[in-house]
Amino acid sequence: MSPADQTSLLNLNAVTKTFGGIHALSDVSCDVAQGQIVGFIGPNGAGKATMFNVITGAYRADRGTISLAGTMITAQPPYRIARSGISRTFQNIRLFGDMTVWEHLIVAQPHGESLLRRLLPIGWASPGVLHRAQEVLEFFGLEAVRNRVARSLPYGIQRKVEMARAVTARPKLLLLDEPVAGMNHDEAEDIRKLMLQLRDAGLSILLIEHDMAFVMNLCDYLYVLDFGVVIAQGRPHEVRANPLVLDAYLGRAS
């Protein structure tokens, strides 16, 4: 069943983004259903990262509309899109300076509290904020590194911290940009299990990933981008057998 047939959480309708004369995205339409893991695959330069940037407001779409749970978010500033329920991670990990893991989980919950409350010491944050940070810390198994400076941690754990930061704000949709890039098999398997647990808890996930085995084993639905155009979509086994996809990305040998 395609995401469009289910309750659509995220909907992109004919989104176009150009840089000069280059069409990074051309009339891209897609849906992410509630509680699904949807993957975007495609060769380098296909427009996957641009799509993430357009969804999160880092770039503004030239044409087309984007809606989240029926509310238009096209052209809204990034912070408002984040607050409406979309969180993301980055292809190159982007953690904050010398902040500890705990501080990352606190700072990523900016809404819902008054300025006065946020001016108080961190330990005096509302019980809800502290409880949420603790809950996420435990879910990702980061208790042992709670007070460590996040950037000083091993690469695989930094990836987890970034994912935890994105989840802390209780998003409706989580965008993961190559979440297992550079990880060994065990670390990737760990992330896969976490993603499945998050999905089972009702979170929708949209991911970009080059590791085909990872994508095929995890995603409920796939879109294939090539030169900014969706050339195929379907369940993983359908995409794997699509001749257009074989030509553009997977290669005949696979």
Partner: protein, 278 residues
């Protein structure tokens, strides 16, 4: 305390406030080289209020702080479009613009300066300087400070986790401007005479130098930097005419040996017996 040392400590208190004004703006990743201009506005507004209107000094400083904070917010908006050295140049231009304005503004004395203020004690200066230092140190323990750090470290990522980066940066400019204004008001009432030349580019550089030298990652770094910048040239008096050259040499050595400044987060936690994040 002799009058001489009282004067030095008063200078250090005023410099500390100037450094804190730079520190708060720098905490969001913005370097301002125009804070002497904001200090100048504060000095003239406070002096006008105490001399011409008869407002008590504490109330005058508060009003000047609020007024200059609003000016800082106005300056902060165009500053959003500039980064790094371009922002530094633009703020430098703002500072020079303010200095030129008062040079030609005859109601406040123009090039001839303005006088008539009543002298204040070094204790009064340090009540403000120490009080505001404590306020900034408390702010450093808050979530708002984490948000400022996030904006400084990665503005794009900060926006994408839901932080209002524009508000954070503009508010930092406003807060920094308010502190610079109070520094200016205290300066005017310490020296009981002000002229536009008091608020030139060199003073803005002093503020930045105090922050960089003392440590730009903790507020007490501004205190260390201010004390050093004021007291070190005096301690080198035995070198007579060579003392300023030796002072410059020492500054270079400190920055080469300890680029993060004298105080940083881990050293500050060590001297205050607190555990440090690893």
């Amino acid at each position: 305390m002799s009058t001489y040392y009282a004067g030095l400590f008063a200078d250090a208190g005023i410099l500390l406030l100037g450094a804190l004004s730079v520190y708060i703006i720098l905490a969001t990743g913005q370097l301002s080289l125009g804070n002497a201009g904001l200090m100048g506005i504060g000095a003239y507004v406070t002096s006008y209020l105490t001399v011409n209107v008869g407002v008590p000094i504490t109330a005058a400083l508060t009003i000047a702080g609020i007024a200059c904070g609003a000016i800082g917010v106005v300056v902060g908006f165009p500053a959003l479009h500039l980064k790094g050295i371009y922002l530094a140049m633009a703020t430098l231009g703002f500072g020079e613009m303010v200095r030129s304005f008062f040079l030609n503004f005859s109601p406040m004395g123009g090039a001839g300066g303005f006088h008539g203020m009543k002298h204040i004690s070094v204790g009064y200066i340090w009540a403000w300087a120490g009080g505001l230092l404590i306020v900034v140190m408390l702010l450093e323990r808050s979530r708002v400070w984490l948000e400022m750090q996030a904006v400084r470290d990665d503005e794009t990522a900060a926006g994408l986790v839901g932080l209002k980066t524009t508000t954070t940066k503009v508010a930092a400019f406003g807060a920094g401007a308010a502190i610079a204004a109070i520094s200016g008001g205290l300066f005017a009432h310490q020296f009981v005479y002000i002229e536009p030349g008091n608020f030139g580019f060199e003073r803005s550089i002093d503020f930045v130098l105090a922050v960089i030298l003392g440590g730009s990652t903790v507020a007490p770094g501004a205190l260390a930097g201010a004390m050093l910048l004021v007291l070190l040239p005096e301690m080198l008096r035995f070198l007579a005419d060579w003392r300023l050259a030796a002072f410059g040499g020492l500054l270079i050595v400190v920055l080469l040996v300890r680029r993060q400044g004298i105080l940083d987060r881990s050293l500050f936690r060590l001297v205050t017996f607190r555990s440090s994040p690893t």
